[in-house]
């Protein structure tokens, strides 16, 4: 039988998660536009309320708690846009989610190095 288990530390974004996270993702989708980014930064809590985030999601947005957002239906594609609003890149995001500094997370990536004789 096929193994459909999800590895530890992985949040499968399926129908149930997409349902739970719809408002959260809808809010982060607006960060494609400068107007959405500015409105969020002006009053983060009010912007969360406007999109109907639940209390857990709202709290996690305010605390930049990416893991809680993933557990509550956030899609990494839209959370990456949230990170962009905060001026964070995907290595910063990796550090936050793995409880490391960005440099430590980068070192983990570098420990898997291949094909870089010059780098």
């Amino acid at each position: 039988m096929a193994d459909s288990s999800t590895p530890h530390g992985t949040y499968k974004f399926d129908g149930a998660m997409a349902t739970l996270g719809y408002n959260l993702n809808r809010m982060c989708f607006t960060f494609n536009e400068a107007a959405g980014r500015e409105a969020f930064l002006q009053d983060e809590a009010a912007y969360c309320d406007k999109f109907g985030l639940n209390e857990v999601q709202k709290e996690a947005i305010l605390k930049r708690d990416i893991i809680t957002l993933l557990r509550n239906g956030g899609s990494i594609y839209y959370l990456a846009k949230f990170a962009g609003v905060l001026g964070l890149n995907v290595q910063d995001l990796g550090g936050i989610m793995t409880g490391q500094t960005t440099a430590e997370f980068q070192a983990y990536l570098d420990s898997q190095k291949v094909g870089k004789p010059n780098g």
């Binding site: 989708f29 962009g84 094909g115």
Partner: protein, 279 residues
């Protein structure tokens, strides 16, 4: 009959576009990766394809969860892009090729694939990064592009076997198009990586190497994997193998490998580059 000149597999992450914008191609971090583009650019310069059929996945620019297609194909005269929320500089629009788009769409539906047809769509870095890296200095504007999107965000996603079969049907359509145009096929994204969760940063370059081997000789072997398998073996975003499989599916006969690179880490990914020509 339109002629399919080859397949290019390439990563499409935003960091590559930024590296080009900032002139970092020859810095230690990037030099080994960008060296792989040299033979591809030379191939494209020499062959001068008229059209690029480009498999990518939208990362939440145009295809939000409200109406997210499983498979989608562009049928527009041009395709704009946007900064996507990261301040990426938008680039001049890609030029479309509506006649071949509609030929492919008609063929697909006649052959039991039912993609979403997009007459207006913004394409994201999944499409713009490969175009601007393969045809630098905006020279991609001479190439007509047909973007084909595969859902790699929300499960359920098309099975790898289905993406391969989808590509096969597109290849049949291209070959049956009554035209002298030359077509290059781009499979973008991947290879192993995981952006999300405590498992973020996971790569599996042994698996990537095996996939690149099989793409040359026996792509059907990769169709046995489920998306859950790929998540486990290649990371949550390892499912982007779908675009490479679809691109490879476009070629009905044997292919030969002309160039291959697997470089990691590039941003949070193992970045693949592969040039395959009909044998």
């Amino acid at each position: 009959m339109a002629k399919m000149i080859g397949m290019i597999g390439t990563s499409h992450i935003p960091a590559i576009g930024r590296a080009v914008d900032q002139g970092l191609e020859n810095t230690p971090y990037w030099v080994d990766f960008f060296a792989g583009y040299k033979p591809m650019r030379e191939f494209l310069q020499a062959q001068k394809p008229d059209i690029a059929v480009l498999f990518y996945n939208d990362h939440g620019l145009s295809m939000f969860l409200d109406k997210k297609p499983t498979f989608a194909i562009g049928a527009a005269a041009q395709y704009e892009n946007a900064d996507e929320g990261w301040g990426i500089n938008p680039i001049p629009a890609l030029t479309g090729e509506t006649e071949l788009s509609w030929h492919i769409i008609n063929h697909l539906i006649e052959n039991d694939f039912d993609p979403t047809v997009c007459q207006e769509i913004k394409v994201d870095h999944g499409a713009t990064v490969p175009m601007s890296v393969l045809w630098p200095n905006h020279s991609y504007q001479r190439i007509k592009v047909i973007p084909v999107a595969i859902n790699c965000e929300r499960h359920p996603m098309p099975k790898p076997s289905r993406s391969y079969a989808f590509g096969k049907a597109i290849g049949d359509a291209i070959r049956s198009w009554n035209s002298e145009e030359k077509v290059v096929v781009l499979g973008t994204g991947g290879l192993s990586h995981q952006l999300d969760g405590e498992r973020a940063g996971y790569l599996n370059t042994d698996f990537d190497r095996m996939c690149m081997d099989q793409l040359v000789t026996n792509p059907e072997a990769l169709c046995q994997y489920t998306n859950d398998d790929l998540t486990r073996i290649a990371g949550a975003q390892g499912v982007e193998l779908a675009m490479w499989l679809a691109a490879r599916g476009c070629f009905s006969g044997p292919v030969k490998e002309v160039e291959r690179r697997l470089v990691a880490p590039i941003s949070n990914t193992a970045a693949g580059l592969q040039l395959l020509l009909p044998a």
